[in-house]
């Protein structure tokens, strides 16, 4: 299987601070890879760097084998790199349907997954019911679904999902995670960024652990689940029985 994303000595700056420091990271094509790490580890900064929103430096930055250093965000999106951001970034005064319409790209790419409007609504039935509602009136779960549907409508080759479960009720999280699994089975390469470590590791085949802007571990998700990293509370996950209250 070819490589979806490959970065070497990849650094990302936010203002004057180098937040992501010279990391190496690979996402094999057709797989679901998790990127985990505690709050402030630099996960979102990494993604914004990859999309070309923040300034970066790298010795290698390849998307499906193609050198994409210095590309603008819209060129990367047209090449199939699609990010579903943590803040969702929907168009609040447009309807659900309009939010999906806006992405009609003029590209003639034949690769990448293609979803028709109906297939997207089948994937997220809730969006079909809300098709004529303004995106600004949607609930948190519906927003997350619409952001993901909008991302899929862009015909991604690599889909990066930044905290799709953030701030959602457990039952909604389960439904969204099930959809991600379903989408992943079509062979689409997915990078799932999550604070919800256990959920992310149970779904992914491989995981990278980010801490303070550096990759501290890259191993198979099953190995990582039993490893010291999790046990030691490195990821902000406190093992059962060791929770401490204040005072």
């Amino acid at each position: 299987m070819d490589t979806a994303l490959l970065v070497e000595q990849f650094s990302v700056w936010r203002g004057r601070s180098e937040i992501v420091r010279s990391i190496d990271l690979t996402i094999p094509g057709g797989s679901l890879v998790a990127l985990v790490g505690s709050n402030g580890a630099g996960k979102t900064t990494f993604i914004e760097g990859v999309l070309g929103i923040l300034p970066t430096r790298a010795t290698r930055f390849e998307l499906f084998g193609e050198d994409v250093r210095g590309r603008k965000p819209w060129d990367l999106v047209n090449s199939g790199l699609v990010v579903v951001p943590q803040e969702r970034r929907l168009f609040p005064a447009m309807t659900v349907a309009e939010n999906l319409d806006i992405v009609q790209t003029k590209t003639t790419r034949s690769d990448g997954v293609t979803y028709t409007r109906d297939e997207l609504y089948d994937l997220f039935p809730r969006l079909r019911e809300r098709a004529t509602n303004f995106a600004g009136t949607l609930s948190g779960g519906e927003r997350s679904m619409l952001a993901m549907a909008r991302g899929l409508a862009l015909r991604p080759r690599l889909l990066i999902l930044d905290e799709p479960s953030l701030g959602l009720a457990p039952v909604v999280i389960d439904s969204i995670m099930a959809t991600i699994r379903e989408v992943s089975q079509t062979g689409l390469s997915i990078l799932l960024v999550e604070q919800n470590v256990h959920q992310a590791l149970s779904m992914s085949s491989w995981a990278h652990v980010l801490d303070a802007g550096a990759v501290v571990a890259s191993e198979s998700s099953d190995d990582l689940r039993g490893s010291q990293l999790l046990e030691s509370g490195y990821l902000g996950v406190v093992p059962a029985g060791e929770e401490k209250g204040i005072g």
């Binding site: 990367l76 999106v77 990010v83 005064a93 447009m94 309009e98 600004g136 927003r143």
Partner: protein, 291 residues
């Protein structure tokens, strides 16, 4: 009674032009979050452009207008690319300084190129002044008001019914969202600024048959465009339209009911009153939460 109809008739027609000028400013502001203090001077491009063409027939007037408006659009595009783009990442006062400087530079350029103040062109419209409800309305004024209304509706159609309009609304509602769906926002910005400049130039071409032009008019029109956008509530095109008409009526009432220079102060009093009573503007879109 005839005074009232006179005020309403003149005011509405003049107000429609103010609405058109305000619409250009509103588009640039709502899409790019750029406050363009040179906007009134873009109107002068249309006025001086037609003054220079000096059309002697209706056909020449229309052709001249099309050429001047196209040039104004190109000028707007170049201004956006060279001056505005550099300020987008900077704090708001950078845009303020750049656009005010541009306006002043244009003012003096016009002063040098056209030293003779207060000129206008001969009536290019193929009809004369007409009587409406006992009030005589000049052909230039009538045509300018009607064409402004049609153009305002055309702009509304462009914004809400076309692909380009959808891209403008996307950038306006969430620039980050636009970036994430692969919209090349710099292109949208350039086109929007060019469109705003072209609309301003059309308004200038409509004004010049009955409004004598001088370089100082640019600042006056900039301020009026601001009033229209702020009073209209910066979230709605219908607000801009109604605020323009209101401004025109206030100005007409001021000029008929009180003596000359007090007329201008009537406008600013109205502006002040609206800001005090409804600081959010006259028309507001129903609140939807962002993000």
């Amino acid at each position: 009674m005839s005074t009232l109809t006179q005020i309403l008739m003149t005011g509405v027609l003049q107000g429609l032009i103010y609405a058109l000028i305000g619409l250009g400013l509103y588009l640039i502001f709502s899409v790019m979050r750029v406050v363009n203090f040179a906007h009134g001077f873009f109107v002068l491009i249309g006025m001086y452009g037609l003054l220079w063409v000096a059309p002697t027939s209706f056909g020449a007037y229309v052709a001249g207008t099309l050429v001047v408006v196209a040039l104004a659009g190109v000028f707007g595009y170049v201004v956006e690319r060279t001056l505005i783009e550099a300020t987008l990442q900077k704090p708001g006062h950078a845009q303020l300084v750049i656009t005010i400087s541009l306006g002043l530079a244009m003012q003096y350029a016009f002063q040098i190129a056209f030293p003779e103040p207060y000129q206008k062109i001969a009536n290019p419209w193929p009809f004369d002044a007409i009587q409406v409800l006992g009030v005589t309305v000049g052909s230039g004024r009538l045509a300018a008001g009607v064409v402004s209304l049609v153009l305002a509706l055309a702009v509304s159609w462009l914004v809400y019914r076309t692909r380009f309009g959808a891209l403008m609304r996307a950038c306006s509602q969430s620039l980050e969202g636009a970036v994430h769906v692969g919209i090349n926002y710099t292109r949208v910005y350039r086109a929007t600024f060019a469109l705003g400049a072209a609309i301003a130039a059309i308004a200038g071409a409509l004004l010049i048959p009955f409004q004598p032009v001088s370089p100082h008019l640019g600042l006056d029109l900039t301020i009026k465009a601001f009033i229209v956008v702020v009073v209209g509530g910066s979230e709605s095109m219908w607000g801009v339209l109604s605020a323009g008409i209101l401004l025109g009526i206030a100005e007409a009432a001021g000029s008929i009911l009180v003596s000359g220079s007090l007329a201008t102060s009537a406008i600013y009093l109205l502006f002040l009153a609206v800001i005090l009573v409804r600081p959010q503007g006259l028309v507001l879109r129903r609140k939807v939460s962002t993000s």
